[in-house]
């Protein structure tokens, strides 16, 4: 899925996958921060959004 979205022009850093066990609270905190930073760096999403206000 990541490959195909990247192929059509959605930045790969918008989609993240991870494995975290229920005991790994710290890894969760770390990953959550990383994901947020990665998406923040990309700026707002532009594509694939259905905005009926714009087309209406």
């Amino acid at each position: 899925m990541k490959n195909i979205l990247e192929y059509v022009g959605i930045e790969p850093d918008r989609l993240h996958f991870s494995w975290i066990s229920s005991a790994e609270a710290e890894k969760f905190q770390k990953t959550a921060t990383q994901v947020c930073e990665a998406v923040r760096a990309l700026g707002p999403a532009q594509h694939m959004i259905k905005d009926i206000r714009k087309v209406a």
């Binding site: 009926i52 206000r53 209406a56």
Partner: protein, 342 residues
Amino acid sequence: MADKILAKDKLAEFIAALQKDKDVFAPKLDNDRLVWAPLEKADDIVWEFSNTEMSPKDFFFPQTECMMHFKNDPKAEDGMIMQAEPELAKERALLNIRPCDAKAFGVLDMIFCQDEMTNDVYWRDKREKTLLIGLACNDPCPTCFCTTVGCGPHNEAGLDVLLVDLGDKLLARPISDKGAKALSALPEAAADDAAKAAELKKAAEDSITQGVGTDKISGAEVLDLFNLPMWDRVHESCLNCGTCTFCCPTCHCFDIQDEVQGEAGRRVRNWDYCMSWLFTVHGTGHNPRHGKKERVRQRFMHKFKYIPLKRGGEIGCVGCGRCVQLCPVNIDVREVVNSMNA
């Protein structure tokens, strides 16, 4: 109303006059595909063409059309109240529309605007504000069969003006008052121009050799046609895609959807097609047209039996041949109708 003459070197003036208060559209070649596009100047007009790939019905009945909008908030004072969409702001003219497509609008007028109760404001608004300037077909395609379904390459029904290409000039025949007004500045045609146009008409009509027979269909009982054994075979190769309905100038079914996003809400209608399983499925899960056979039968029965039955004999097909050309499995409407008529 007398025929007029429009010399091709006077076209620029004619188009400019139209453009004063109208948006003008005409068929245009785009990457080997003939599509409808805004016309900027007379030199861009294509004169030699069979017909556009898709029918121009989306000028009046867009594939997706917003019908009304509302504020999606039941508590707000103006919430959940439908607000009308603005009407078409500027008049339009469709130049070089083929007679078959214009006739199709006439058929759809009968369906969209039947009486006070059945009066589609979206369709009517756009129809009233559009001038149809037709271009007669002098060289019909092998897939055309208009002459056998009550239409023809020089058919005038539905048009405001019919143009006939006479080489360096066009015979312009006013058909409606609106059309006469648009042609008022032009000189009258000589008798031999009209005679030449009549000759071209005869030649074009004669060149259509393949067609459909509908004489027996009109006399037959609905149920007898409905139960014909031929339906068991016709549908076999059908994919149940929407190609035939979407390219068809007279197919007019739609599906209404409400869409919301936060506070914004709108009601849209989209083209729908009777070939689809979803078209008839009920909320219970029951589907009265559950198989391919039922769906394929519906399309042909609708055009060639139900519409004529309800609309005074008018056939719901204009013989443009688009479905013959585009069907991915080449289900040929001419073959199907002829076996219905057998």
